[in-house]
Amino acid sequence: MPNERILRLAIIGVGTGLFSGLFGVGGGVVLVPMLILWLGFDERKAAATSLLVIVIAAIGGAITHLTYGNIDLVAALTVGIPAVGGVLIGTWLQQRINVAVVQLLFSLLLVATAALVAFG
């Protein structure tokens, strides 16, 4: 059923975009659980897809902010370059940890994000 799959992907995309636009949270915390619970992705595939979605969504958001002049390029490089190093470690690590353990870590992240959204 390719049409049903595309419909589900569209709903997941819209849900991710709406929530991240509404609360200023990244798309990943919304997207990864939906891919796991609704499309049956494992944690690695869900995380991989999420990273690509984040690239596309962040480009859109960054262009909007660039036109308002809200971006500090030096600060972006100060945290961004170390973070690129970190993501190499993180993805490497993820291939070597049990997916169920990664999923447990993710649920902790969700609770932390929920607290930030409710009380932050």
Partner: protein, 131 residues
């Protein structure tokens, strides 16, 4: 202060690669509290910093064989469009109410994910002792 920002940057990247998130949960506070950006600038700057991080992460995941590019691009286009709608909706809705609703929903999803993971770990442990 720069050293602290770099350390938090590395941690955000590890979290990003491990969990498939952007890392804004660490980058925004680092930019606001350590590098003294105001809140909107911190969020905007975090968004720019996330692009190469997520791109490198997606590239690595593709080499590990975990990434279906077409799925990601499809979801990504819808997400980018809907984010604009989400920002517009913030001003139209009772924000506190939906914040609490969303927080409760996330805790529920966390419980679903955690119980599934624990079930899987128990099954693996059981089959390990049998085998």
């Amino acid at each position: 202060m720069i050293v602290l920002a770099i350390v938090i940057g590395v941690a955000a990247g590890i979290l990003s690669g491990l969990l498939g998130i952007g890392g804004g949960i660490l980058l925004v506070p680092a930019l606001a509290l350590v590098l003294d950006l105001d809140h909107i600038d911190a969020e905007a700057t975090s968004l720019l910093a996330i692009i190469p991080v997520a791109a490198v992460g997606a590239w690595r995941q593709r080499s590990y064989g975990n990434l279906d590019v077409r799925t990601g691009v499809t979801v990504g286009i819808f997400a980018a469009l809907a984010a604009v709608g989400g920002v517009a909706l913030v001003n139209a809705l009772d924000e506190r109410l939906i914040r609490y609703f969303f927080a409760v929903l996330m805790v529920y999803v966390a419980w679903r994910l955690a119980s599934g993971a624990i079930r899987q770990l128990r099954a693996e442990a059981a089959s390990a002792t049998e085998g």
